[in-house]
Amino acid sequence: MTASEAPAAAGDAAVKTVLGEERFAAVQQAKLLVVGAGGIGCELLKNLVLTGFRDIEVVDLDTIDVSNLNRQFLFRRAHVDRPKSVVAAEAVKQFRPDAKILSHHGNVKDSQFGLEFVSKFDVVVNALDNLEARRHVNRLCLAAERPLLEAGSTGHLGQVTVIRKGETECFECQAKPSQKVYPFCTIRSTPEKPVHCLTWAKNLFDLCFGPEDESNLLADLAAEMRQFQSQEAVDGEDVGKRIFKNLFEDDIKKQARLEDLWSEARPAPAPLGFEEALTKAERTADAEDKLETQKVPSVAQDAQGFVASVAKMYSERRELIGQSSFSKDDPVSMDFVHCAANLRMQNYRIARLSRWDAQSIAGSIIPAVASTNAIVAGLEVVQLLHVLQSKGKTMRDGRARTVWVRYPEPSRKKILQPSSLQAPNPDCFVCGSRTARVAVKSLVDCKIAAFAKGCIQGQLGAVRPALYANGSCIFDPEYPEPGPDAEEEGLHPEWSLTEWGLGSGSLLQVEDEGQGWSINLVLREEPDLDEQHFPNGFKVEAGAGAGEEAAKDMAEKKRKADAEAAEVNAAKKATLDANTVAVD
């Protein structure tokens, strides 16, 4: 043994003393997939490698940002912009050079990480921060019949649980709140809250500087914007002022004239000219201990900031115009969105925001700190050791638990509180009945491609869904666009549900081969569908919330649940609610 091997041997010996021969052997033999190399992932990889795990692959699509450095302790400033998975793997290999760690810089939803890939591993350990990816990995693990360690953290709170097909609840057995979508007209004409104006401003940035996109909420303004932008010898400042005049002055004047929209309770918006804006230099008084970025700028500063951000796009990033998209971490796009949203708030008499708060909302930023992630990642390894010991018995009979991280006070003396794993929900649309009902506002207006994207992908969490009705394929993810190729296959992505012969009561089969998941949908037309809550024009009733019968059933179950379960559910919901905004 060389000097450099001695520490690994001594470390292993110490772990073996504590775990015993049998458990330690299971640790050394286990082949693990870690999904995510961020806040939880860095802590997790460190814990795994130093506890003796030797065979790990890690997937992450992200690159390192400065704001990661307060907790993702494997990363240094020099690593900024490098792939997280690669840097994290290099760093933990230094702790234990004998560990085999393979990194993949990519999206776990890509087909290369499908069922075949996941089946290579004994256990999958999640270290993810967004619901979409967590739903996808859940389905992969159910289909590949691999145990999954699930974890999440938000600020000081967190939780860890274990999922195994047929034995425990899956990640989707309890309905997850989906990301909030705002009605089109609220964004376009009648914003009431800062978030409406920020959503508008993000769409505006992508419209002006991103690739053409029909689904952009402001897509109908594209021609107008291009006109300002395509002037010969464009001067960025001039473009900025033209856009300013168009959006914050002329357009608002037109809006104000639509008298039906306005009342005493909702006064008409006030147009704002650029020169007029520059005269509004006063600032609201802020608490002294606030950072500069936490103070609300003057209207004049917003106006100048807006024009300056457009000018910067032309002077510094001209070659990127047409391919940029909003990012909360990109200062120029963040300045643009903050200033544009604030100017619109000024139009609509909504209290304007500091850049700090605008960034929080526009970027859906979740507060995060090293200590919570360290706790959560430690608890994942605790549960992983239980999973490795569970051979031959079902997960719920073993030692594995769901564990809740409480803060700041313990719950009945427990600051880390375990609770029993729950049985699968038979109504679950993912691991149980696999049926759901979908109410569609208008079957005539709803195109099959839009239905596949908005409903099956967006709400039911599929990645590459194929749709079947009456025994034949009516939508193939290989042919999402209309055209001769699609037609040759007998497909028409532009056809409406009615054109495909679907009506109220029709049955639709959905299959996602990549996820190894399928579901039966019963369609129903519901012309009165409330646009405020279902702006996309469909409502999914699946799993826990499927129809009235299911609701009754749930009410019954709820009554039976003991006090602890109720408490645990409340905490779970609180954490999940907080996680909803975690879609980065």
């Binding site: 010996a13 400065v66 307060n70 702790f95 006070e409």
Partner: protein, 335 residues
């Protein structure tokens, strides 16, 4: 108080959004002594330096192979050198905006006050004190004189424990919604912590009372140390001691008291340290920021159950019973 710089805002963004500017400023002005690079203290070093707290690492012991296997701030080439000297540049490297100092001196029992002077919080590992519970009580007493918070960590394989003494701690504010927002409501509240020597004076009650088995195990270890050496070879006499005082707790996941005893002398598994070190860090941060109610005063984590428990030892004296007005009037009339 110096203003937070733009560079600091960029790095500390996600935690500023958790605990706010004032708390961050307090953290940036705080000094913490981590005495003993062992167990959960290693994790606390990582978490605290990332949070922006200035650290001093103190350890007079040299690096062994097992240390490198456990402590990711140490490398094979460090073997034989001082632990704190080798670790401090690597702790510093994680946060160039922070500050990390080190000391390799052996503790001087006579000058404990000088040793803890100037620190807001002192975190001590039982191992670096040679498993000397009395010395730990002396360090706590010195911290009390110097107005520093005191935390003691003890580890045993898959079990881990810490004790904290923040004396008379005044919480000035509270996070809203489980700490997910920086917004706070102001409601000062005082928490009274018992000293570690009163913790030690409670050993028989702790060992035989209704509390969790891990607390009992540590209390038994402490009482055993009054008359015995700290060495793995003493496992049999430890079991005998437990029998003698008629307290033989069954700790979830451990086969025997001999086995439990031997685990006091191996580092905890890193994931166990990760969990307890995270909880410990939260308490240090609460102590410094005076935000959110602290855990009073003993916390243990058992990896077999996945639970971490909080217990006040000795228990707070029962609140004086409020007497009925009639009784008081009756008393007065009797006089």
């Amino acid at each position: 108080m110096s203003a937070i710089t733009g560079d600091q805002v960029a790095v500390y963004d996600r935690q500023l959004r958790l605990w706010g500017v004032q708390a961050q400023q307090r953290l940036l002005n705080a000094k913490v002594l981590v005495w003993g690079l062992e167990g959960s203290n290693v994790e606390a070093c990582k978490n605290l330096v990332l949070a922006g707290v200035a650290l001093t690492l103190r350890d007079h012991r040299t690096v062994t192979a097992a240390d490198v296997g456990f402590n990711y701030f140490l490398r094979p080439e460090d073997m034989g050198k001082f632990r704190s000297e080798c670790a401090s540049p690597r702790v510093q490297e994680m946060n160039p905006l922070g500050s990390v100092a080190c000391s390799c001196n052996k503790p001087d029992r006579e000058n404990l006050q000088d040793l803890v002077k100037g620190f807001d919080v002192v975190i001590v590992g039982l191992g670096v004190l040679g498993y000397d519970f009395q010395l730990a009580a002396d360090v706590d007493a010195a911290c009390r004189c110097q107005n520093a918070g005191f935390m003691l960590t003890v580890a045993a394989g898959e079990l881990a424990f810490f004790f904290s003494d923040l004396q008379e701690h005044v919480m000035q504010e509270r996070s809203t919604q489980g700490g997910t927002e920086a917004g706070t409501e102001h409601k000062p509240e005082t928490f009274s912590f018992p000293s570690f020597s009163s913790w030690l004076s409670e050993l028989p009650q702790t060992a035989s009372g209704k509390t969790d088995a891990t607390f009992k195990l540590i209390a038994l270890f402490a009482s055993f140390r009054n008359s015995h050496k700290a060495a793995p070879s003493e496992a049999k006499s430890f079991a005998a001691h437990c029998k003698e005082v008629q307290c033989e707790p069954k700790v979830d996941g451990l086969d025997s008291l001999e086995q439990a005893f031997s685990h006091f002398f191996v580092e905890p598994l890193v994931h166990v340290a990760s969990v307890l070190g995270g909880l410990l860090t939260q308490e240090v941060i609460k102590a410094i920021t005076r935000k959110d109610p602290p855990l009073v005063n003993s916390v243990c984590f058992n990896a077999h159950t996945g639970a971490a428990l909080v217990e006040q030892i000795p228990a707070a004296p029962p609140a004086p019973k409020k007497r009925k007005v009639e009784e008081e009037v009756a008393d007065l009339l009797d006089d």
